[in-house]
Symmetry: C2
Subunit: 587 residues, 2 copies
């Protein structure tokens, strides 16, 4: 069952939700023309479907290998990476100043959705390069930018992010890797980093490590960490490669999934690196990397969910079991209502997650490029609000969706070699890395709500209500029902938001206990809003039916639960706050 | 992190929910005395904790192997099985007539919860023997019973269930394996069976296959299948073993989890077997096996969930990340409210599932043994109602619970060698085998509701309301709140039941589209009811706090959603019924 990008769904989401027309109207993308979208999506699908997807099961089975010469990528990936670079796919949304194509971010998201859907383990390599590029763009000196950005943006070199240490995961401030000044402007970095995705491989001649470390006189905790760049091979003045730096991969983790993505233990022994940005301001630079990575991990959730949906539909059309009344013999299981329910749940949730991620990317572009400062500011608040939803909600749904994908396959879904099983196993990392979904929930309930007294969320809710009012304006039962569902869901999110604002400032622990449920509710409502919006904008188009089906099912199956979720949010948090200590205190 | 049975939780569930005292009062268990419970649980825990749990990670890593001589069990399991047999654990709840100990079923459930929790792959071997024993007890001739039951019940031999064929999974009536009379009362069985759990191994001298096959003149479909018994080695008149039968394991599946449980492709080539029960009545005999197996698979869900909870608590107490206000330095993550929420969710759901499974086993005993016929009939209806909840709800919750277990571990949870990862992978099969959870939902919404016009479910709801009234009778805020939650949840289940009864008889496809949500809602309400009941019965005991914490959290986090779930049930089904065809019809 090969992956084949859902081009029409993706194109509709770009036009209806990411509003490429509005991005073009900013004037910030002179190279962009809406006519480009269709051919770009078609070409990207060729890479995804024809090159990357066939390598996915092989990568799952064989994985990356650690040898004396370093990490060897899974079979076929080096050649695939070469084609990826030659196609110019890495550089789509980066500035022309450094060789990028200067196109809108959502277009790059669409392309990378296909890449992740076809081969998530492969897609992680450029995903990490993105983080390195963003950090260098935002915080690097002109010299460092000139040295690294053109090769990273072209894809000739890849980047990796070295944050985690055994005692410093979610709590990155606990890291102990040291960076000592060499006296020549460089630093000697020593320490061990774990869980370093694509930290080493043989696909490119050089790898650029971004490394968080602590200067000798640094304050304790997260206010004392600095970000460094350390290439695998030093770069000479003429751009050629020089000596090998003194760090290496000393181990690969054995993981549930993404076997073709090497997860490295990296050892730095007086490795030479250069400071990015200011000393002790590494946390801010890290968040630059993380924000990019968070949206892209959310996108992985969309992608692997879409792949699971496609595998589920194909299997359900092919597999014959059981009969239905009025027909002789066995039927394809897609005819059974319970299977249809599973497939609809998958399709609606994947599309809702896709809309949230693309909307987040669109807001990021407006925030960066719009001529009007107030518009930029509003868009930045929207991007900040949507980032934890894009990461947290999309990846939680990826677990649900790939789980249903396994279930549709019955016993075959439990077999390691089945694509549905691989999607389930690959997806499991997405709620964990780049900030666990618990961290996303705390980010939403804490930083994102508190920084403006809830203004960004209130603006979002107002938008949902506007949408509901517009949908009620026509006399069509389908849209009228959607409108009512949205109104009630907005009420639920509204009251939950008030609860969160109150508790986070008065009983913070209670607010924190409710944070994950709040993220779930917010994603449900915003996702349902975008689905309804898509259906509304599609109402005069030829394929309007599909958008309305997804919006209606999501309203029926998910928005209908919003009031209950809001109640569970406060009652559940109350119980945690009151009682949790009693359970394990004395063990 | 070794498994250690939650003896006090288990003992409370036996006394408060399974009501061992009421079972004893039937007079059907003359060997049973409540004083036996504590020592039995302690001894079983020694086997689980000290023998089986240490073999679990080894089995996950190494798995079973197929050799020319047949299947070789994972390291250590043969010796563990010997200890299991010597301890008399196999025979607990089987009739004394065939060497059993004649103890109540819930006691055996308690022991097997420990076995599955310590090593689910191992536990599957006796689980399959149970099915064979139940079928022979209910349908076997006296000769076949005498030949096989004593050795199966002692555990000297094991049994396996051969149902599935490539084209016949959920749709067992599609099977094509043939059984041709040999003229001497035996049959020649030819065909291939797949997914045969513990179909071959080297732990016992003989293996007794129960095989579904089709006689030459059998009607098409499920009305033409017959059940046969076929031993690996023939049994001589003196009980000694004779020649090898002509079937063998020709392949092992590569699975996501339960690696130490060999999943065999079995090839039968004129293998000699004997008919169990009447010709063409194999389906009824199969359901005898399946009902036992379904409850036991639900129990696996409880067990692996409990194991994941224990691993989660241990990790959360050990792992230090992040700080909390008012304390210097990092704290154990169990101090963070979001982690407490995850652990409470795991604990409450595991305990609710445990209660449902034990209550089901208790009802089965009453249905079989009570002196009063009307009481037996009511109990049988309760057992029938609870079986799909025990299987479907408990195993769906096992996915949720083991998923949270992985999440608590962060990046470590994604590593293959972590216990949390193994639990997640092992658990994934439980919603699939012995009837997928979609089949369970259809069984509940169809057979179990329709066979008495919903009387069994209405009796269950009435019991929930009685419980709510009793809890409201004391003037304690905790119980008052529980009472209100239960009342509202009972209302939701009541209206959903009316909806299901109507739709299943008028718009069957709509009812079927709602069936899975109905099973979820029913399990939520019944589980919450049992938790509240436990808390109520514990109110004067020393450790009453724990039962009330679990009940209160479950009410706050889950019962609070019941109204929303009931709404999603009908609105979601409406959308599937109306729209699903439109999505994939033209692909």
């Amino acid at each position: 069952m090969p992956y084949n990008a859902p081009i029409s769904q993706i194109a509709h989401t770009l036009s209806r939700i990411a509003r490429l027309d509005e991005l073009a109207a900013t004037g910030a993308f002179p190279n962009f023309d809406v006519e480009l979208v269709a051919p770009i999506l078609e070409e990207a699908n060729k890479l995804a479907r024809d090159v990357l997807a066939p390598l996915n099961p092989i990568g799952h089975k064989v994985g990356a290998k650690l040898t004396d010469a370093g990490v060897i990528a899974a079979p076929g990936l080096s050649d695939a990476y070469r084609q990826f670079v030659e196609g110019g796919w890495m550089s789509l949304a980066f500035p022309e100043q450094f060789g990028g194509q200067g196109l809108p971010k959502p277009l790059a998201l669409a392309v990378f959705e296909m890449i992740h859907g076809a081969n998530m383990a492969f897609g992680l390599c450029p995903l990490l390069s993105f983080g390195a590029i963003e950090a260098l763009l935002a915080h690097g000196s002109p010299e460092l930018q000139q040295m690294y950005l053109p090769k990273l943006i072209s894809g000739e070199w890849t980047g990796a992010m070295n944050l985690t240490e055994p005692q410093a995961g979610s709590d990155v401030g606990a890291l102990t890797t040291k960076a000592v000044p060499n006296g020549d402007g460089s630093y000697a970095i020593t320490g061990q980093k774990i869980f370093i995705t694509w930290g080493d491989h043989d696909m490119t001649p050089n790898i650029v490590q971004l490394v968080l470390a602590r200067l000798p006189d640094a304050p304790a905790g997260s206010k004392g960490i600095s970000l460094f760049v350390a290439p695998k091979f030093f770069v000479n003045a003429d751009g050629s490669l020089g000596d090998r730096n003194s760090f290496k991969c000393i181990g690969l983790e054995h993981k549930m999934g993404i076997h073709a993505s090497p997860t490295c233990v990296m050892e730095y022994t007086n490795a030479k690196g250069w400071l990015i940005g200011e000393a002790n301001k590494g946390l801010a630079a890290m968040f630059t990397m993380m924000n990019s990575a968070r949206l892209n991990v959310g996108l992985e959730g969309v992608a692997v969910g879409e792949a699971a949906l496609q595998a589920g539909v194909a299997y359900a059309k092919d597999r014959r079991q059981g009969s239905i009344s009025g027909e002789k013999g066995s039927v394809a299981i897609i005819r059974h209502p319970d299977v249809q329910r599973m497939l609809l749940t998958m399709a609606a949730n994947v599309q809702a997650a896709r809309a949230i991620c693309y909307a987040c990317g669109s807001a990021a572009d407006i925030a960066e490029h719009h001529a009007d400062e107030a518009t930029r500011k509003t868009a930045k608040a929207r991007e900040d609000l949507l980032t934890p939803l894009a990461k947290g909600w999309s990846t939680d749904r990826a677990i649900d969706v790939t789980n249903l994908g396994v279930q549709i396959h019955g016993g075959m879904g439990f077999m390691s070699e089945t694509a549905a099983a691989q999607y389930y196993l690959d997806a499991r990392i997405t709620p964990i890395y780049e900030g666990t979904n618990g961290i996303q929930a705390i980010d939403l309930a804490g930083r994102k709500l508190s920084m403006d007294g809830g203004a960004a969320m209130k603006a979002m809710i107002a938008e949902v209500r506007d949408n509901a009012r517009e949908l009620a304006g026509v006399n069509e039962p389908g849209f009228l029902h959607l409108s009512q569902s949205l109104e009630q869901a907005a009420d639920a999110l509204d009251s939950a938001t008030e609860y969160m604002l109150t508790e986070m400032s008065t009983n913070r622990d209670k607010g924190l206990a409710a944070a994950t449920t709040y993220l779930r509710l917010a994603g449900d409502v915003v996702g349902g809003h975008f689905l309804a919006r898509s259906a509304w904008q599609a109402r005069d188009e030829a394929d309007s039916g599909k958008a309305l089906v997804l919006a209606s099912y999501f309203a029926g199956d998910t928005l209908s639960r919003a009031q209950g979720t809001a109640r569970a949010l406060s009652e559940g948090a109350e119980a945690v706050f009151t009682d949790a200590g009693a359970l394990w205190a004395d063990d």
